[in-house]
Symmetry: C2
Subunit: 743 residues, 2 copies
């Protein structure tokens, strides 16, 4: 009986176990079925994907992209531009390495070109109207590229057509203070001013001049500012080095505002309302033309008058005089005039953006946007094709992973190849005007890589402070250009650093105050967290204002591959870093934004403002307490949000809680927008990063208003300071509210 | 053996079954644990909660709320106002029926009051300065309420203090066309104009007058406009009926813009920048005073001059003449002047909003806001305390369910008891200025119930067209006031209906074009989908402009409970309907917004615009195609989104997909905002619902620009029409983009 009982029990146990196993594994618990999407919504960035991306970014691919993009000049709307449209479209529509979707998007925009049949002329003419000297109309040819008939000859875009003649004066950088100084001893009415690039916006040099009665403006690049003083093309400048040859001329847009000039705040479509061209502000009111330094030397070194002050002196082997006005009695140009004959023509013409998309798997309604312009002045190897070559390499690698089914980002990625940037960031600005609300509500961040390599010494990045940490994280994972042991981060910190109260010594990330490239509309108009990055110089080795072939006919594949980034290792480092950031923005479960770093920047601004302004403001009865209160609130809110994040097990929380925090991080910057803060500046709505003429590293509206009030002393100007203090305080309080507990 | 085998098998089966049960139910499948939040995020509105809410909304509770709120006059910032602050706070902080949190929020705002020590005076004085007639300074007392020392005596808020004297003219409604007509035969310089309420904004009557040199303005309520002609308080008017007694005076704010007048676009805090009061626009430039119709009759019936046209005639038993200017030779007032002595004082003073919150369980970062102002002119039983009584009843029922743990909304609910609405929607406007970005990014909808019952005949609702369907759904579930068989919906459709191309005959939901109550900042400044609702008259029974005791000392508990809504059944119907909508907005898995209904409204607007403008626009070379294209795109996008919704099994989708659709629905209206479209109108940024002086039911900016261009014929005015066409087309395209597939 015992045996039978044991056997029975054993059998019973076996049957019971079988039953348990069947019950547990064999029968699905219908009522508690786990939804298939559960793992997807909780998925974080995959470091293996990052590593695969980094390993696939290839210097030879980038080099071949660049070779293709720079075959012909591709000035906006030219046949060469159309070739690049097709090239980018084909790449993004490629079945193996393309994106989900790519298309062309056109705007009808207002551009300015020289007349190919009537070249602009700058001459010295004597009283009998004989031409004593002519500025060259075309840069010197060293390679066949310079002879391409599609090369647009030097001009100042948006300078009016017209004829101006007068005695020459030298006006330094064409700042208001420069003309004011000249005007103390010279009657500027009816003169022609020659100015050098730098220190002031292109168009402003002419606008400032016209206020004193100057009738025409020349602009040249001084060898001291661009060439570390070197001037000879027999052995010093390009094609022997990266330096600007004597005949090289920086072209450029002479506009103050960005976006299509005829359709402010409206996307420039066929039937869109256009303001009358005579209502455009911020462009030269008088004929203006850029010239090379060889010709500038021929004019400046002949000038009569008192010697200009030492800070006006440049790289020529002569003393820069003010001008009599006009030339020295001993000069062959004695009593001659300088004459400008400008034949620029404005056109309303279609310009194309090329857009491409990878649709997000989990949050398709969140966008990470990566962009660069496609149009150049001439061949534009560095500006912008270095950036486009990098962008196409990033899309090749990511597109390949998508097409192979290896990867799909959590959020959607939009790539923009903008048109007509050189004329004033037009393609990107029109895009943001057309899709304002959609972009504002859905865009996580914008990454701009325009000139990818100014030089190949070190990374340079400007960004919203909240993005500093993701830039650091990505740059630590990438090898510095040409190194296989030092990271981009470790290399960068040697060239440019600062001491952060929180982090100690770290690389210096700049601010996006200006409108230097296509990030402008995203930062200033939309308030979207943005990054602009590139590789750049060793500042201990050159004082060049910018890479010397900038906007000239020498910015070619030959120049880029020989003098800027041989081996394309700088391109590669930028592509890897920017792509790494892009993947992190697109894939991270929690957006990689650090608002405490934003607080640090606001505290910096506040300290500068208090130190610089508080005593005088108190005397005017204006309290800075609301601003201090706002910055302190922002800091507290940022720390509070950090705590919420740290104490959350995000992968196991409801996806709506993660989304809540991500929305706080994403939308915080929108609170800094105020469409009424800078009514005279097109598109500048971000009260923290607007450009400021004061030069002080503090709240720009406050700084400019203070400078004006201090100078005028008028009570209405002090009221404007008070107004800007209220505007910026309310904006910061509003941003803090976005970070605070949502209810 | 067989028996044993059977028993063994049976035992085995029993054991197996036990095993299966243990295995299935007793052991959790660790690897596929279902997160606890899964049901919560998929939960939809619970109809049982709606039914419970409806059953608990109680007429007696509303009546007692109203009795308490109307004990004393509660003019903004007065001691009576503070009593209501405390009352609302106590209710919202109640342990059994309160909200999660409630607090007071103050703004320092610019208000205008009469001087209690120097009453405003309106007199008729003869050439020897003898006073022949004095307008009464105080309304007649029928009940002790009218004698309360806290009753503010009739005045025109923001009329300047000052003394004006001149010959009287009758200027109808004080419209520009009225003064123009008068000015054809009378030199208006130095005159005093008497005008009747209606047809034009309060302050505009004085602004329009001043343009013709008029030096003072009187405003009265004509018995024809308010009392269906009745005038006697011995048997016709209050206290015998709802009609206005002869001495009753409508107080009011004589401002054009809403929000604190000194701090446009800035929250009015202690240190906020304030514009100089002399820079305020849109308020009377000349002394202005409202008077009762008894006194107005004494003046108007004595006027000399030609008889005014028939459409200027009112309810008095005399012919309304223009005025000589001045009185008839046969009048005792012959050759006398009318004199205004106004002693109004402006103050910058703290005004309180009371805020209360129920935190959402699943999406706390989505807000449904329900609000009404708290301040009145006198006792304000109807305006606004009928609305506040209803709001407090809604919070009592919902708060009770929350405190009992029976319910918590999916989204957060914010209740706002706004201050200083009567002076220009100030409390709500300052709130939206302070929290602009947070509210803009997170608010699903705003429900405004100010005057809950103008009368108790039928529901009246104005809203964004997308909210029509939820209003209908809710109103079908509620019994009409005083009925237990007819729904609010079925009752409503009898009083006011229209034929929709989609839905056939339906109740007419109005548009929120104006700034009549606290919805203004939410609609016009923030672009948030909003509803304003109340019960109102049977228009077949009265032509009253508004309920007759509006803004007088007769708007008391006695008046409300005897003549507007005996039994409080109208209040109850409104509370049930508004609360039902509130719960649906807060709890629905999918937001109950119908964008196809919005498309129908845009198509209506488009049809009107094409019919009215196209021929002339074509003649001016302006194409309407972009507008047609935009509206067609919006319709297509709305239908596409409807399809996505219909084909989705939302309860089983990822919560982020539901959120994506809800964000599309919530944020679509933001695309209609353009801060530059109406630069002269404070806070008007919504290009579809802005107010328009044209009166045409179409796009307001286009309509006004067209009217101006048609009248002036100037080419720059036609350019402005083209501009507005582009603005509105781009806005509608942007809204369509929000509804389109997100990438």
């Amino acid at each position: 009986m015992i045996k039978e009982a044991v056997i029975g029990t054993l059998c019973g146990l076996v049957v019971l176990t079988i039953g348990i196993l069947i019950g547990h594994f064999g029968i699905e618990k219908k009522s508690e079925a786990v939804p298939s999407w559960l793992n997807d919504v909780a998925k974080d960035v995959d470091e293996k994907i990052i590593q695969q991306f980094l390993s696939e970014v290839d210097t030879v691919q980038i080099q071949e992209n660049l070779r293709e993009l720079t075959k012909v000049p591709h000035l906006a709307t030219s046949p060469g531009d159309e070739q690049t449209v097709q090239f980018v479209l084909n790449r993004w529509q490629d079945a193996q390495t393309g994106l989900d979707k790519a298309w062309r998007q056109e705007y009808k925009v207002y551009l300015s070109f020289p007349d190919p049949n009537n070249p602009n002329k700058v001459t010295v003419v004597n009283q009998e109207d004989s031409v004593l000297f002519s500025v060259r109309e075309k840069e010197k040819t060293y390679y066949p590229e310079q002879d391409d008939p599609q090369v647009v000859q030097p001009y100042a875009a948006y300078s009016p057509a017209g004829h101006a003649r007068g005695k020459l004066v030298y006006a330094n950088q064409g700042k208001p203070s420069d003309y004011e100084r000249l005007n103390q001893t010279i009657d500027l009415r009816g003169t022609i001013a020659i100015t050098r690039y730098g220190g002031e916006g292109r168009g402003a040099k002419a606008i400032n001049a016209a206020a004193y009665g100057v009738v025409g403006v020349l602009v040249y690049t001084d060898p001291l500012d661009i060439n570390d003083g070197l001037m000879s093309d027999t052995n010093e400048t390009y094609p022997h080095s990266w330096y600007l040859p004597p005949s090289g001329v920086e072209r450029g847009s002479y506009t103050k505002d960005f976006g299509d000039l005829l359709t402010p705040y409206l996307a420039a479509k066929e039937e869109t309302y256009r303001i009358p061209p005579e209502d455009i502000s911020g462009i030269p009111p008088i004929p203006t033309q850029p010239i090379g330094f060889e010709d500038a030397r021929s004019l400046i070194c002949e000038l009569a008058g008192d010697p200009a002050p030492s800070e006006w002196q440049g790289g020529f082997d002569c003393t820069y005089n003010y001008g009599g006005p006009g030339f020295k009695p001993t000069s062959p140009f004695n009593s001659s005039d300088v004459k400008l004959d400008i034949f620029n023509q404005e056109k309303i013409i279609n310009s194309s953006n090329v857009m491409g998309v990878i649709t997000g798997s989990v949050e398709p309604d969140r966008y990470v946007i990566y962009g660069n312009h496609r149009d150049s002045w001439v061949h534009g190897a560095i500006d912008p094709s270095s950036g486009t070559s990098v962008m196409l390499e990033i899309t090749r690698v990511l597109g390949g992973m998508v097409k192979q089914g290896k990867w799909r980002p959590r959020r959607s990625i939009i790539f923009g190849s903008w048109g007509a940037e050189e004329f004033g960031l037009i393609g990107s600005a029109e895009y943001t005007e057309e899709y304002f609300t959609k972009l504002s509500e859905r865009t996580v961040g914008y990454i701009n890589v325009d000139i990818a390599v100014f030089a190949n010494a070190t990374l340079r990045a400007s960004a919203m402070p909240s993005m500093q940490s993701v830039i650091f994280q990505a740059s630590r994972q990438v090898n510095a250009a040409g190194s296989d042991s030092t990271s981009v981060y470790d290399n960068w910190i040697r060239y440019s650093n600062r001491t952060s109260p929180t982090h100690g010594v770290i690389p210096r990330v700049g601010y996006l105050n200006g409108a230097g490239s296509d990030y402008a509309a995203f930062v200033h108009y939309l308030g979207i967290a943005s990054i602009d990055m590139s590789y750049t110089y060793d500042r201990s080795k050159t004082n060049a204002r910018i890479y010397p072939a900038y906007h000239t006919a020498y910015d070619t594949f030959h120049y880029a591959s020989n003098f800027i980034d041989p081996g394309f290792v700088g391109h590669q480092a930028v592509g890897r870093t920017a792509g790494n950031i892009l993947i992190r923005l697109a894939d991270s479960l929690l957006l990689p934004f650090n608002c405490s770093d934003y607080a640090e920047s606001l505290e910096d601004y506040l300290n500068t403002a208090v130190t610089s302004y508080q005593t005088q403001l108190q005397a005017e009865g204006i309290s800075m307490e609301p601003l201090k209160h706002a910055v302190a609130n922002f800091r507290r809110a940022a720390e509070q949000l950090d705590k919420v994040i740290q104490s959350s097990d995000l992968a196991n929380e409801t996806p709506l809680k993660v989304r809540k925090i991500n929305d706080q991080l994403m939308l915080m910057d929108r609170a800094f927008l105020n469409p009424l803060a800078f009514p005279d500046e097109y598109g500048f709505r971000h009260v923290i990063w607007a450009s400021s003429s004061s030069g002080k590293p503090t709240f720009p509206g406050l700084a400019d208003a203070f400078a004006r009030a201090e100078s005028s002393g008028s009570s209405s100007d002090w009221q404007k300071v008070h107004y800007h203090l209220s505007v910026v305080s309310q904006a910061i309080e509003g941003a803090a509210d976005m970070l605070n507990e949502v209810i």
